[in-house]
Symmetry: C2
Subunit: 333 residues, 2 copies
């Protein structure tokens, strides 16, 4: 079986290589057109060549080419606030009539007023718990549909476009470039796993089983004679900070060789990636472009990049200067 | 991006099809040589043709071809006791000198004596908790190595062979047949996820990220200046019975179209698979061969098959009669 599977892989690899050389010459010429030439782009390409060259000492088998990406601020924007929060606010508002006890909660008032400084002061946990209560009792199918509908109808306040339009074009190209080199791409995000899985395939070509995130409780039961999964009013796993390597271990079971983040919440994921044997790539998206996107780092309430930036500078990790390195930020630019 | 990815998929599909027709005619002639001709084999082939024929109303896109398999008793044997238990016993024995408080615990005494009736009476939870304590403080790398070493040196008491030799040859062919038809195969087992992931790629060609199982707690920390994951003395998620659809939802995020189990612990997974829209395949391995393997079902302490068998008969699910349907049980037969 192993022999056959290896044969097949080599065959596929060969035919894809041939198709790249002949059928898609423009694509092969530059797999990363939205990245400007410079040390950042070169670092990415050099790494990919080093781990895919079968004659190099740095060669890594396709099975072990695990790449992990944070989502908010790394694959799409996260300003003026994590996009999932807008969805949450709408869900909580819809459930509010059934929960008169919420009226006096500071997290409820802040969420309804979209009062971001107040929300940051309260912290993310009470807000996530409020959402868990708001959605408890829904079936997972109903919840998926609520997310799908919301994404279809809602618009980003600054760009007046669907939120999924705010995925970064250079990162989409990077995902595709890695995939063509037989990497397996995963999202490892502090956001809710259900929220991302609904659109990750369409936007990033990352299938739902490769999305790792914060997990809410669900329960299997019969409803009207049909088996369903019902959402419970509790959060079971917070996939952020030191939770990210834990989430990677639980779901992937091996150490990534490539990791990209943008904030201190990604530091442990980057450290865990760096701790593996052999060649590793650690990258950070530094938000430096207030015209096309936003500019923020060490003192930001959202996506604070302070300790992770120090670690990157100290350890020679790759830092993307969005303004300088990206010819395009969004596909619509 | 989607367009390109689809093109590539079609191209790969076409070239694989061509290679099957010309380069591997013997394989193409019968992808399931260890399955005897009859209604069971025909039901599998008919299902696969129905969901892969692009002109059929029953066609399912490759992304949605999710297949889930229980492990113990479905993909490999589970007698005289779940193989993981032998590993556990060795781990607990090694840790015993550090835990004098265990001497009076009934689960410890039963495990050391390999007293299966006593263990069954105590139940699986105290035993799993004992193991969690035995391994707590180990790094995940040390734990993986302990499993790997144990598998290499230990032998099955009846066959005097490595445990991994007791994977069922017909099921390995089925996994390969589904994979060639662009299914994604997952293991969904009550066993510990770490225990299975170490060998699932080698034995089943199922990569670690497609193994779903019972999850123990781990914690990210620095040890001698290096980031590590340390095992905690607690079980975080039991992937059995109604936990299986929950595990599928957490890790895969969509409903399978194909599920195989062998015991009442798989009933909810099969019900959850059956509850999806469109054509579905639900299968059970019925242990009917006491000569080549074992024969047990409704009254067995291990792999009890009672309610799930009733459900299969009532709903027309496929039941494999091991004695009749399998020309070979193990590759070494």
């Amino acid at each position: 079986m192993k022999h056959f599977s290896e044969l097949r892989r080599q065959f596929i690899q060969a035919t894809v290589a041939v198709s790249l050389l002949f059928a898609l010459p423009a694509w092969a010429a530059d797999a990363l057109p939205s990245w400007r030439d410079g040390p950042t782009k070169q670092a990415i390409i050099k790494f990919v060549i080093s781990v895919t060259d079968t004659n190099a000492k740095t060669y890594v088998k396709p099975d072990d080419r695990i790449a992990v990406f944070d989502n908010d601020g790394t694959l799409w924007s996260e300003q003026p606030f994590y996009f999932q929060l807008y969805f949450m606010a709408d869900q909580v508002r819809a459930a509010a009539p059934k929960h008169p006890e919420w009226q006096d909660l500071p997290e409820f008032k802040a969420l309804m007023a979209r009062d971001i400084p107040a929300l940051m002061k309260i912290g993310v946990k009470p807000v996530l718990e409020l959402l868990a209560v708001a959605n408890s009792g829904m079936t997972t199918a109903e919840y998926d549909k609520a997310i799908d509908d919301w994404l279809f109808f809602s618009r980003h306040p600054r760009f007046n476009r669907p939120y999924t339009d705010l995925a970064y074009q250079p990162m989409k190209e990077l995902l595709r470039y890695l995939e063509m080199n037989f990497f397996k791409n995963f999202i490892v995000s502090g956001g809710g796993v259900e929220f991302m899985r609904v659109w990750s395939q369409k936007v990033y070509d990352i299938p739902p089983e490769r999305v790792i995130g914060t997990v809410g409780g669900v329960k299997f039961e019969e409803k009207d004679g049909k088996p369903v999964l019902i959402k419970l009013p509790k959060m079971e796993f917070l996939d952020d900070g030191p939770g990210k390597p834990v989430g990677i271990y639980r779901s992937i079971g091996c150490q990534p060789i490539f990791a990209f983040g943008n904030s201190d919440g990604d530091l442990q994921m980057l450290q865990w990636t760096a701790a593996g044997k052999g060649l590793r790539f650690m990258g950070l998206v530094h938000h430096t472009d207030e015209k096309r996107e936003w500019a923020y780092d060490r003192t930001s309430h959202i996506g604070k990049l302070d300790k992770a930036l120090d670690a990157a500078l100290a350890n020679g990790w790759t830092v993307v200067d969005m303004k300088k390195d990206w010819a395009k930020v969004y596909a619509f630019d």
